[in-house]
Symmetry: C2
Subunit: 151 residues, 2 copies
Amino acid sequence: MEQERVEVESSIGLAIKQASVALRGAMEAALRPLALTVSQYACLEQLGQRPGISASELARSVFVTRQSMQTLLQGLLDRGLLTRPDSPPAGRALPAELTEAGAALLDQASRVVAQVERRMLAGLPSGHLDRLRADLAACVAALVDPGVPDA
Amino acid sequence: MEQERVEVESSIGLAIKQASVALRGAMEAALRPLALTVSQYACLEQLGQRPGISASELARSVFVTRQSMQTLLQGLLDRGLLTRPDSPPAGRALPAELTEAGAALLDQASRVVAQVERRMLAGLPSGHLDRLRADLAACVAALVDPGVPDA
DNA sequence: GACTGTATGTCAGGATGCTGACGTGGAGCA
DNA sequence: TGCTCCACGTCAGCATCCTGACATACAGTC
């Protein structure tokens, strides 16, 4: 069987990367006034929706290693945006929760990010939203099929 | 006007990020036997299609800074995959070109990457391919609208 | 009770990519 | 000619995230 090479013009992979880079850039710019990186925002968002989860669990949600998450959490901790108990209530996991300040900042950040998303989707016919999400999900499912390491 | 917050379950941004991470991971794994990173492959692919372009131009094509591209090119240069003149033929740009070895490796890499793309698209109805690309392109266009810095 | 497996937090080191700044070469214009 | 503006290559410093390794705590089995 003859194997085809990549055609740059029609590569879906390139299109995904472009979208990802553009989105990340737009989010960084939007979050800069709040002194938050995209990773930090993602962290707060997850923490807002699933209070009390461990750093490792958080890391998996945000697609970074738990080592990176420790550094990330420390920064948010120093700013008083979240709290962690000094000693683990059970096992080794230290459940993190947003402080009042953290929840307030998350609220601002979430609105800013939602605005970016709306701007991105403005160029898209409204009906295409669900199908785009479905198509992307199908791609992810096909890729992670053989199982994800350390997740 | 009441501004909405992000809903994690329905966020297109998250879907794009997931797809991007999954794709990058799959490509890294596929390219590892060839001792190429995703960035290096992207660099070779561009160079194969546009021989003689400068490092700065290459950097823009691959979404990295020209500083990073210099490091990247040096690695490929040391492996004899491409050539650059010692002195600029005009202006300051040093046009890069693939060597025979570079072209051969690119050929292998391109097939491997195409295979990953096919695997990704296997879970997608065939007709959805073009519309997915179109939708992503529309998103990118809407985001980069105010102009891209240093590009 | 002892052992194994899994999950978490943590430390050390390195790879990668970025921002900022500088010098140089060419194009455009008065 | 002299000046300005821009693009390219390059150096230095820094941030981020990674891999690898280790100790600890719980659940399961025997």
